[in-house]
Symmetry: none
Subunit: 227 residues, 4 copies
DNA sequence: GATGAATGAGCGTTCATTCAT
DNA sequence: AATGAATGAACGCTCATTCAT
């Protein structure tokens, strides 16, 4: 198996967690804990207890829990980006590429064996439930200057690039792309917690829900850009 | 001037703030303070200092600061709802009504003299910056059961109702409506803080930005539902 | 017994501790604890444990432990000031007044029954051991602007006033006064901990030591100003 | 240029910093950092960052930051001692020697080219601002037993020796000497931070201030011992 | 000898909340 | 109804220090 890892913006961490045992345990257990407790109730104290290490040790890797959330979501966007690359690089037709990208984004997430210490299913739940908290803060402008949103930006631009290949004259490719990325995740949240705000049905099984989500998003994109 | 006030879900407060002087000062100053400090740094202590009252007094009106945010956003959604009613009730054509509703949603917000102790401009900024925090919590299911999201739900259904009149066969009217409501506010956030995720231009003046936003949203809706 | 209390600068505390039971216990036990542990090892946590109250409650009275030390030392200087007033107000001769003031400053300290919740003997030890820490900080300029040193200043100026009455032409009355106040306390510290820096003898009993101290200070003052 | 260095008490350090490159950088940068941040905010972490070395490396030279402060102040007292030797060894008259010693103590400090990695001007500021912290600790008795105050003691005794030559019958030579050494530095602190406690004028230029300081100290000493 | 990694301990502070008046 | 006082709980963070290499 190829030993791949994403190069995430080095501002996201103090010491790169991918390269040490403790770092990898921090990643692994923080995903589990945030998934279990929610980001508000997640603390470095609890994480340190979980991995049987010291709070101060966690601070050697991440400045604070916000940066850790940034790191995890950035990792997730990078992962989607990478999977879109794989899914699209053999396709030459613009429409098919866009369609394939949307499929990657809306498909149910399953564990990716290429990344041992990341539970992608749990991470996906975290992104659905907490992602907005990376930017709805008073530090957003500073964080953006430091490039912490590079992962999301990059994914967004990939998508808007695909859009503009299919429909060169469309003026709102970035807005549409960011709306699509957010809406995809938000609808999954609504489906579970605020079902009145979506049309997918809670009682359906996972694959049906995602099928509907895909249809909704695909229609929205292709019709909006005029195909 | 008509003395109107919205009937908000009584679960949102302990004691109705609209009916007492202290209650009204709580509303007024909490809008100012949250706008100024952000929701995270806003506390009942600071609010009490501001209105020269006691922390415990604020607790007489709102169970906690989350419920207060709920109250403010619910008020905002009610206000939009009410303004859509006014803007659409003379229109008989479905398309025109949908268009008018979108216009209300995307238009720049100005002070509404009908509501003395609410600064709608600041409240709009709060909704843009903090609204997601009403539901991205561990209490979301319980809050939903208590009907705290009634305001947003209701607005969403009004919009999806308009959509289904124009396009009865469209299957995702709720999802589209919620996406539109969120996207409208999120794009305004991106415009200011993460400009790479939108196509509106920071340097343009407010009315141009909102014009572009309106075009983006309107196109997305009408094309998606097939008109 | 007259119910007297010193009006200390209100910037020294958040809520005046003299007026509540908890406040008085804070004063009483902080004196005991600082005397016992030293200022560095003294914390609000330990104080709260001691008085069987909560850390947060102490913060209602004092912003931090530094301000508390300020308060205690200010109280001490006010107390000396007040005792000098009593000791001198019946004297008309300048030399005698100055001599009496020096006697108050250099005399051994005994419990003053007028102030129930202050252990003056322990407080005197604290002043000897910790007083310099009120001004050897990065906040000294700000603290001085806020008037936190008013107590010491005031005592110093009383003394320099006495000096200038005896010797109107002497140019360094303030410097001599502050030197005398500090030296008196420092020599007591040296006597115990760094005996090589003083000429009083550790083995002598307390009253002999203080007698020598008084002679040293009195000679220094009267000869320096030329009498 | 003569390659001189002071023999400081070996208890002050773990490994002598004068003999290695890293050791010299520790001295140099700790003076800069303590001068800049104050002793409280100075940490071995920050020092290690500054010299681009590791915290653990600093611990190879100094047991802790207190010992480092001891080392620096001891160096300073040794330096004064040495300069007094130079200034007095050609003088045979007791009064002139005492006067010369006082001049060395009260003169403005300028860089001494004989000691490359010590910035004497900054070190003087540190002594003025932090010196008392070497003995106002719970370890003072133990530190004294270990001889950590040898430098100050020694300087003090040199001065009291001079005093007793001029005035053999004076009983408080040590007390007067220690008072003089402390007062000289304290008055400089007061001049800047608590001007009400001194008679030197902030607005005057440095040499005038030091001239006044010298007059104050000289008068105090010579009149006290009766000349 | 020098360093990178890790950690135990605890500090200062704040918050949301309750209780008695 | 409104408020002043008090508090339990925990958070974020840093420091001094040690250990293994």
């Amino acid at each position: 198996m190829a030993d791949i890892s994403f190069r995430v913006n080095s501002k996201l961490f103090v010491r790169d967690p991918q390269h040490t045992d403790l770092g990898q345990r921090i990643i692994k257990h923080s995903i589990d804990l945030i998934d279990k407790l929610g980001f508000e109730d997640f603390t470095f104290r609890k994480l340190a207890d979980q991995i049987e290490s010291a709070e101060a040790s966690v601070y050697r890797y991440f400045e604070n829990k916000h940066r850790l959330l940034h790191y995890l979501t950035a990792w997730y966007w990078n992962w989607l980006n990478y999977r879109i690359d794989i899914a699209t690089n053999s396709l030459s037709d613009g429409s098919l590429r866009l369609k394939a990208a949307i499929k990657v984004i809306t498909d149910p997430k399953i564990e990716d064996p290429r990344f041992e210490f990341v539970n992608e299913v749990a991470l996906h739940r975290i992104v659905v439930a907490e992602m907005e908290k990376t930017y709805l803060t008073k530090w957003v402008d500073n964080d953006n200057e430091e490039g912490l949103f590079w992962g999301f930006n990059s994914l967004c631009h990939k998508l808007s690039g695909f859009i503009n290949i299919v429909s060169p004259g469309y003026s709102f490719a970035n807005s549409l792309a960011s709306t699509v990325l957010l809406a995809t995740h938000q609808q999954l949240f609504f489906l579970i917690h605020l079902p009145g705000l979506s049309d997918m049905k809670k009682k359906d099984d996972l694959s049906v829900q995602h099928q509907q989500l895909q249809t909704f998003i695909e229609e929205m994109v292709f019709r909006t850009i005029g195909c």
